[in-house]
């Protein structure tokens, strides 16, 4: 059994090293926390890993002992006394676990858990609403008319109360660097805390299987300095930027008259569709289709003409637009800052 | 070891009495029915549990537009059904004594009452269906599902009655005696569940 033993020791050490390494890279890692909540959970993990390592190597040591003494009965020194072996089972199987588990229970479920909980209703400076759709995130800022999608802006160093709901199936809101996840369940208003230590962009993803495009239901949290956040919110709450040229006006007319308007809203126009994301300030966003593709002209055009190629199963149908109309709509959408 | 008893071959009063006297523990068939009851009880309790789960989530129960169930007739019917446990148990006792005549008569008596109960229940269910639909609200869904699940158990009991009565035409054997006892036990379970289901069904009016 030494073979198995050594292999495991190597694997576990490798694992620890890799995990440490990984903590630095990747932007959706639970191990690169950027808030107290996430940090407490990560710390809890490292402690649990340590304790688990002790148990694992302890057990491995015993199995190894079994292998080295495979021709000798009983234990070294203690022999084969039935009462003693039973006593050891009771010690390692009952006594030690009880003590460790009580410690884990208290630390994890009373101390750490309080750091991750949603702010009390009255205590919070700010509440935002995130609504899951197949397959994008709608973001609303109660008290304002601001609506956006897939890019959640919050002020840094502010405890934000997030109300998580859904319009269709169950989704789960999860930004691991900032906090644990919370499910979005029809008929339930769940809440979670979002807090970022410092300005930055934190990636998140739907964590409850929600249909064929579950894999492409991601979002980003932009934590901004409070004044920049306020400026962003002011812009977001405003209706769309009125077309400033005949070409853009034509783009708006095509958009409103086409199938686009039956699913999308552009505030300030007669497009009031509620199936897809609000596009009032589409050009301010960095990505399209819930982080599937960058928000650049070529991708945007490709998305409009053939969304099923990029995101098979998505609710968006291919929109057939003539060459000139198509360019006008692209110009128009790119002007929606 | 020489006193090996071959119980299943016993037939006729004296032999069955002898088997029953010598037997130290419940026979396999009895255990089988106990386990069937255990699993069926879990099934019914999960349904009843769902009733209360949905009820405690609801702001109004039954929902607006659905009258609270009327109490008198279902309670009387429940009482009548409970009484059938008496002849069923007596039938089980009679088999232990190897007496086939009383066994048959008692089962027929119980079966008539049980069939009547099911008939009246089905009429009540039809009336309820005219008032509200299981496809309109969760209340309707759980209400009808729970009651139909109960009815299904009564119906299965009736089939068991018929089955054992057919077997008893050919007289009593120990195999059939165990069968009667198992079926009596099943009816006690159905009746116990009737109390739980009917009281749950009527709970908005109680």
């Amino acid at each position: 059994m030494t073979g198995a033993g050594r292999r495991h020791a190597v694997a576990v050490i490798l694992f620890a090293a890799l995990a440490l390494l990984a903590a630095g890279c990747g932007d959706q890692s639970t191990l690169s926390p950027h808030s107290k909540a996430s940090r407490d959970i990560a710390t809890l993990w490292w402690w649990m890993l340590g304790a688990a390592g002790v148990v694992f190597f302890g057990a491995l040591f015993l199995l190894l002992l079994g292998w080295t003494r495979r021709r000798k009965r009983g234990l070294p020194v203690f022999g084969e006394d039935e009462g003693l072996t039973t006593g050891l089972v009771v010690t390692f199987g009952i006594a030690v676990p009880v003590v460790t588990l009580i410690a884990l229970f208290v630390v994890a479920n009373f101390s750490v858990v309080s750091a991750t909980q949603a702010p009390k209703t009255a205590s919070t400076a700010m509440t935002i609403q995130v609504i899951g759709h197949q397959w994008f995130w709608e973001v609303r800022y109660p008290g304002t008319t601001a609506v956006t999608a897939n890019e959640i802006h919050i002020p840094a160093r502010t405890r934000v109360n997030v109300v998580a709901t859904t319009t269709d199936v169950i989704h789960s809101l999860w930004v691991p660097e900032l906090n644990r996840k919370i499910d979005m369940i029809p008929g339930h208003r769940n809440r979670v805390l979002l807090y970022a230590d410092r300005p930055g962009v934190y990636r998140g993803q739907c964590a409850e299987f929600c249909g064929p495009q579950h894999a492409h239901m991601s979002m980003k949290v932009f934590a901004q300095p409070p004044d920049r956040f306020r400026a962003w919110l002011r812009n977001m709450a405003a209706p769309r930027r009125a077309p400033s040229s005949p070409e853009l006006t034509r783009g708006e007319q095509v958009f409103v008259a086409s199938a686009c308007a039956s699913c999308h809203t552009i505030r300030g126009t007669s497009a009031h569709g509620e199936v897809g994301p609000d596009l009032t300030h589409l050009a301010t966003r960095t990505t399209l289709a819930a982080l599937t593709i960058p928000n650049r002209r070529g991708y945007l055009g490709g998305w409009i003409l053939d969304p099923q190629h990029i995101k098979p199963g998505a609710k968006m149908p291919a929109i057939a637009l003539g060459g000139a109309d198509f360019q006008a709509v692209l110009d128009y959408l790119q002007s929606l800052r | 070891m020489s006193a090996v008893t071959r119980s299943t071959e016993a037939s006729g009063g004296a032999e069955i009495r002898g088997v029953e006297r010598n037997r130290l523990s419940q026979p396999n068939g009895w255990w089988g029915i106990v386990l069937l009851i255990a699993t069926e009880a879990t099934l019914l309790l999960a349904i009843v549990g769902t009733y209360y789960y949905l009820r405690f989530q609801a702001t109004q129960w039954p929902p607006r537009g659905i009258a609270a169930p009327s109490v008198a007739l279902p309670l009387v019917m429940m009482g009548v059904l409970l009484l059938t446990s008496v002849p069923m148990q007596l039938a089980a006792v009679a088999t232990r004594a190897g007496r086939v005549g009383p066994t048959r008569a008692l089962i027929v008596l119980a079966m008539l009452v049980q069939a009547g109960y099911l008939a009246v229940q089905i009429i009540l269910l039809r009336n309820d269906l005219l008032d509200f639909s299981p496809a309109a609200t969760a209340y309707g869904s759980i209400y009808f599902t729970m009651i139909v699940a109960h009815h299904a158990h009564v119906a299965i009991g009736l089939l068991l009655d018929v089955g054992i009565l057919i077997r008893l035409i050919g007289g009593l054997t120990d195999y059939r005696a165990v069968g009667v006892r198992a079926i009596a036990l099943y009816w006690h379970f159905v009746n116990l569940m009737a109390i739980i289901v009917v009281l749950t069904q009527l709970s908005p009016s109680l």
Binding site: V55, G93, V169 | M1, V4, S7, A136
Partner: protein
């Protein structure tokens, strides 16, 4: 015992038993058999076929994830494949192979009985299981596979979001499957309670049987809850009821509660038989009795019991109240204790014994290692905030594959080797056995261990693809390579066993000098199992030579031979005092007929042909009537 028969009197008795218990030959014999061993073999091959299917699905998943943005499968195909993988491995492989194959074949042998308590019900269980599996796979074959995951959350599984018949195949198939398992578990409980050889009081019963007793009780109480949740789902989908529909007073969380009230005991149902196999193999190869026998027996029963009180730890991220989550976290920690007892009992037994690391024991050591890893990561999920962070990521996938594949399937594979000589009469190839173990062990480690890291790096489960720049690619590639190694290991096992079937060295009755009664009879055992109902005075019956000598004397004297018919003795529940002799049924056409009638009914329910479904149900009732036309017999 056949080989130890010496006198002509004994020989005559054995011949008479052979005549009485002779099985119908050919295909018809297999279709109508009620012999627990043949039913066990039917279970074995059927569940192995499903294992193959589930394995191919696993490889498809791993191939799709071999790199970012791959298109081996479309998203819809991927969803169907991972759903079928889960459903297959849990309901059509692990449970039927452990309970149906190992339990059926071995349990009556270990308690010294001649069959299960209800042999025809036993056949019915098998045919219903086979039919339910085929039923679910027909869904895949006609392109209507379920694709909402094995726990099938509503409203994704509702008619609105899953309009094709996939979910109906799943729901009806699992209700059908559940009836099969319920019948089987009742059969096991009565068999264990009543059919133990006189003298085998509960404290002399092997630990393997304790595990099966615990599993059977867990199944008996868990399955009805699954059935209820599935019936509600079908009523919602087919008749427009509103159990799970929030708009009309239902609640999607109701599904989650019902499903996990079943689903968590299910985890212990999956693993307890593996514990039972481990407690059979360890004493044999370390040449000593299990340490802390009563504690282990108690722990096996406790695990099954406490398993019913922990379901909501699957729902920590659903926004349950803090008090609720804390209760369920505490209960989830409590269940660690009985698992810890068993773990250290196995380890201490190995340490204090003189272990001979033959293939079966290697699998058990592999199982212990994986069970520790899966158990430790499981404990971490009782830390609510950690659970809320890592649930629904690859960390969970890692956790339950260590538990289900590492800890449940490894003992099954070990058991295949351990009991191969008993079932076939031949030895497998030891060298190949060891190679296949190390290949599978390495493959398992490489496939599933990096999943922990992926989860920590934020990769959610059930994603059909992943972006290039997340730092996930390397681990995914490693896992996919591991899965091919793992598959190679499994294929090697199949090759080894298949070749040994013909070429293996003859095994004799008891090649391992094992402690339990299945080794008392010939390999393979005769249809009546034992010529003499064996004498038992400890859980290690074969290590009590006086008892075995007594069996030989009994056969010569004609004591406890029961040569007047298809008979087995029953005994009292606790002390196993001799009670009576019951006549067992022999082959019967009714179990398979009933299963066919019920298949017809479920198919019609699927197609919403209610009247035709009723006709099939009536058929089923007629079959039952015919079933009971023969007596005196046990069911």
């Amino acid at each position: 015992m056949a080989t130890t028969t010496t006198t002509t009197a004994a020989r005559a008795r054995v011949d008479r038993l052979e005549r009485i218990w002779e099985e119908r030959p050919g295909l018809l014999g297999w279709l109508t058999t009620t012999d627990h061993k043949r039913i066990g073999i039917l279970y074995l091959f059927t569940s192995l076929a499903f294992f193959g299917a589930g394995g191919v699905e696993a490889l498809l998943i791993r191939t799709q994830l071999l790199g970012p943005d791959k298109t081996v499968l479309t998203p819809q195909q991927y969803d169907a494949v991972f759903t079928m993988h889960g459903v297959t491995m849990i309901f059509l492989f692990v449970i039927p192979i452990s309970i149906g194959a190992f339990g059926n074949y071995l349990l009556p042998l270990q308690i010294g009985a001649r069959d299960m308590a209800f042999p025809r019900l036993n056949a019915l269980s098998f045919w219903m299981f086979a039919a339910s599996g085929i039923f679910i796979y027909i869904g895949l074959a006609v392109g209507q596979a379920p694709s909402a995951g094995w726990f099938n959350y509503v409203p994704l599984a509702s008619k609105t979001y899953s309009p094709n018949l996939g979910i109906d195949f799943y729901a009806l198939g699992l209700i059908f499957n559940g009836i099969s398992s319920t019948v089987a578990s009742a059969n096991f409980i009565v068999t264990i309670f009543k059919l133990r050889a006189p003298g085998m009081s509960l404290n002399r019963m092997p630990l393997f049987c304790y595990a099966f007793l615990a599993v059977s009780f867990a199944l008996l109480f868990a399955l009805p809850v699954l059935s209820v949740s599935l019936i509600f789902l079908e009523l919602d989908r087919q008749l427009g009821f509103h159990f799970y529909d929030i708009a009309h007073g239902g609640d999607p969380l109701l599904w989650q509660h019902l499903f996990w009230i079943f689903g968590h005991p299910e985890v212990y149902i999956i693993i307890l038989p593996a514990f039972g196999i481990a407690t059979s193999i360890i004493p044999t190869f370390v040449r000593r009795r299990m340490v802390a026998f009563p504690l282990v027996a108690l722990a096996e029963l406790l695990v099954a019991f406490i398993g019913f009180g922990v379901w909501a730890h699957h729902m920590f991220a659903t926004g349950l109240s803090t008090a609720t989550t804390v209760y369920f976290a505490a209960a989830s920690l409590v269940i660690v204790i009985p698992s810890g007892i068993q773990l250290f009992a196995w380890i201490m037994t190995i340490v204090t014994g003189t272990p001979e690391f033959k293939t079966p024991l290697l699998w058990i050591v592999g199982f212990i290692v994986f069970f520790i890893i899966g158990g430790l990561s499981g404990i971490m999920f009782a830390a609510i905030p950690f659970d809320q962070q890592l649930t629904d990521t690859y960390f969970v996938v890692a956790h339950f594959h260590f538990v289900i594949f590492g800890a449940a399937v490894f003992p099954i594979l070990g058991g295949l080797h351990y009991w191969f000589p008993k079932v076939t009469g031949r030895m497998y190839h030891e060298g190949l056995g060891k190679v296949s173990f190390w290949l599978t062990f390495t493959g398992t480690m490489v496939t599933f261990f990096p999943m922990h890291i992926l989860g920590l790096l934020g990769m959610p489960r059930r994603n059909y693809t992943y972006p290039r720049d997340m730092g996930w690619t390397g681990f995914n590639v490693l896992e996919s390579i591991g899965s091919y190694v793992l598959a190679a290991g499994l294929v090697l096992i199949a090759v080894n066993l298949a070749m040994s079937l013909r070429r293996g060295a003859p095994a004799g009755n008891d090649p391992w000098k094992a402690p339990t009664l299945e080794w008392a009879t010939s390999s393979p055992p005769p249809p009546y199992n034992f010529a003499v109902i064996p004498a038992v005075s400890s859980p290690y019956a074969m290590w009590d030579p006086e008892d075995r000598e007594k069996d030989v004397r009994n056969l010569e004297a004609g004591v406890l031979v029961l040569e007047q018919g298809h008979e087995t003795p029953t005994s009292t529940v606790v002390d196993a005092e001799w009670d009576e002799v019951v006549e067992m049924p022999s082959d019967s056409p009714w179990p398979i007929s009933l299963a066919l009638a019920l298949s017809g009914m479920f198919a019609m329910l699927l197609l919403a042909h209610w009247v035709t479904a009723g006709v099939f149900l009536a058929f089923a009732a007629l079959v039952l009537l015919a079933w009971h036309s023969k007596e005196p017999q046990e069911a």
